[in-house]
């Protein structure tokens, strides 16, 4: 049951990144475009789909809230101000779709709020992930990093990196969906943005080496994890080929594949942790969704006494529990036994 909710969470985050990444990226490029015809065309390329794409963020939040309340409470409280500002960015860009055509004199306000809102939302999403990867400061399981504890050079770098990544995704969408000038401009932007994303990935890797982030040791220890980066590298090569051929459709699919492999890389780097090196998937799961896991003893240090009571009631199900454990191990060899590495800021 925990694996079911983890999978659902992973799928909804991935779909959000891929789908809203497209229209946030178009929003970023919209800020660079001039001329009413181009701007209106770019807006039309995402107008029918943007609100559906954004709904995956709501689904992600609801899964976290219902199935992993500890993570929901910890992360949303730790990132209180940036996430509020991100929501305001999303509100401003959403309302721009409606209000832009209601005025001519003041259209610049809504153009600014569309591009600016996209920029704010994208930057904060990247920054949040960066701060999470680098590690937040916790004391007794509670965030103790202060109001701006998430603001680090690495987090800012990740914010810029995601802006480049979403813009690349958006440019590929425009090349696929639009014609004439918008498509030509997008074709010129794709190689520049792709190089930018590549430079960002190199910078992240260099930073991880220099800072010796805990995840790096996990990678060196388990080279088979390199399957996702390998898929990403192949996709990047296909992307380079399709750029040379001025292909309209292939860049979008290869960039989507690069995003999927980056997402898989990130998820595997931290598995089974949901909040890196503080809370694992099983510790985070709400008692309602994990009838067997307590019995298995997969939980290290327990967070909730309610959950323990629940476990006692379910001891009769131990046999089933063992099967369940075997299933878990079959899908994820060794990973649940990954030792506790490196720089953990938890003070116990």
């Amino acid at each position: 049951m925990v694996m079911f909710w983890v999978s659902l969470l992973a799928i909804s985050i991935l779909l959000y990144v891929l789908l809203d990444g497209v229209d946030l990226g178009v929003g970023l490029l919209f800020g660079l475009a001039n001329g009413e015809e181009r701007r209106a065309g770019m807006l039309s390329a995402v107008a029918p789909i943007w609100d559906g794409n954004e709904t995956w963020l709501v689904i992600t939040a609801v899964i976290l809230w219902g199935a992993f309340p500890v993570v929901y409470a910890t992360l949303l409280s730790a990132f209180y101000l940036p996430l509020i500002v991100m929501l305001l960015g999303l509100i401003l860009r959403g309302v721009a779709f409606e209000f832009r055509y209601k005025t001519q004199r003041l259209r610049w306000i809504w153009d600014l709020s569309f591009a600016g809102g996209s920029l704010i939302a994208t930057f904060i999403q990247g920054m949040t992930v960066g701060a999470l990867v680098e590690g937040l400061q916790f004391t007794n399981g509670q965030y103790s990093g202060g109001e701006v504890g998430w603001l680090t050079p690495f987090a800012v770098l990740c914010g810029i990196g995601l802006c480049l990544g979403y813009a690349l995704l958006g440019a590929c969408w425009l090349a696929k969906k639009c014609e004439a000038e918008i498509r030509d401009v997008a074709h010129r932007q794709i190689p520049v943005l792709a190089m930018g994303v590549l430079a960002f990935l190199v910078a992240v890797f260099a930073y991880a080496l220099a800072e010796n982030l805990p995840i790096l040791e996990r990678w060196i220890d388990r080279p088979y994890l390199f399957v996702f980066p390998a898929i990403g590298a192949v996709a990047a090569a296909v992307l380079a080929l399709s750029i040379l051929r001025h292909d309209d459709h292939r860049p979008f699919y290869t960039v989507a594949l690069i995003f999927i492999s980056a997402f898989g890389t990130l998820a595997l780097s931290f598995w089974p942790y949901m909040i890196p090196f503080l809370i694992t998937v099983d510790q985070a799961a709400a008692p309602q969704i994990q009838p067997y896991v307590h019995v298995l003893g997969l939980r290290g240090d327990r967070l909730s006494t309610d959950a323990d009571l629940h476990a006692h009631q379910l001891q009769g199900l131990q046999g089933q529990g063992r099967n369940n454990r075997r299933a878990l191990n079959w899908h994820f060899p060794d990973l649940t036994q990954v030792p506790f590495f490196g720089r953990c800021r938890r003070a116990s």
Binding site: D51, S77, L81, I84, E98, Y101, T103, S144
Partner: protein, 128 residues
């Protein structure tokens, strides 16, 4: 003329319709107030008190900042929204009265006011 068509020419009814445009907003906001204020001191009625639901490390300053930026963005959008609705009503119906504009879609109510293709910029009426 059928009853449905005659209905659109009854002046008192038109005035009533015109004056009732703020009602949905009042209904939504007062309904929200009723739910939020009426539930106090509970955040989940009978289960969790608001005081116990608070994030322990959330500072007053953070809460104030978030409230201020929320209010200002909301005020900006509400101000422009009210202005656009007012102008839309003042301009009155154009074209054929009983035809839905071809660009109107149910998930964008304001699209009822759109005319012509989306890149056409000349449809903004009075007030400009």
């Amino acid at each position: 003329m059928s009853f449905k068509h005659r209905l659109a020419y009854i002046r008192p009814l038109l005035w009533l319709t015109f004056l009732s445009f703020p009602l949905p907003f009042i209904a939504i906001i007062t309904g929200w107030f009723t739910a939020e204020v009426g539930r106090q001191p509970w955040v989940v009625f009978g289960v969790l008190r608001t005081a116990d639901a608070m994030t322990p490390f959330l500072t007053t300053r953070q809460a104030t900042i978030s409230l201020v930026i929320f209010c200002s963005v909301y005020a900006l959008i509400f101000l422009f929204g009210t202005f656009y609705i007012y102008r839309f009503i003042r301009t009155g119906p154009r074209g054929k009265l009983f035809e839905v504009p071809h660009l109107a879609v149910p998930n964008r109510p304001m699209s009822l006011a759109d005319e012509g293709p989306i890149y056409e910029t000349s449809h903004v009426g009075a007030g400009e």
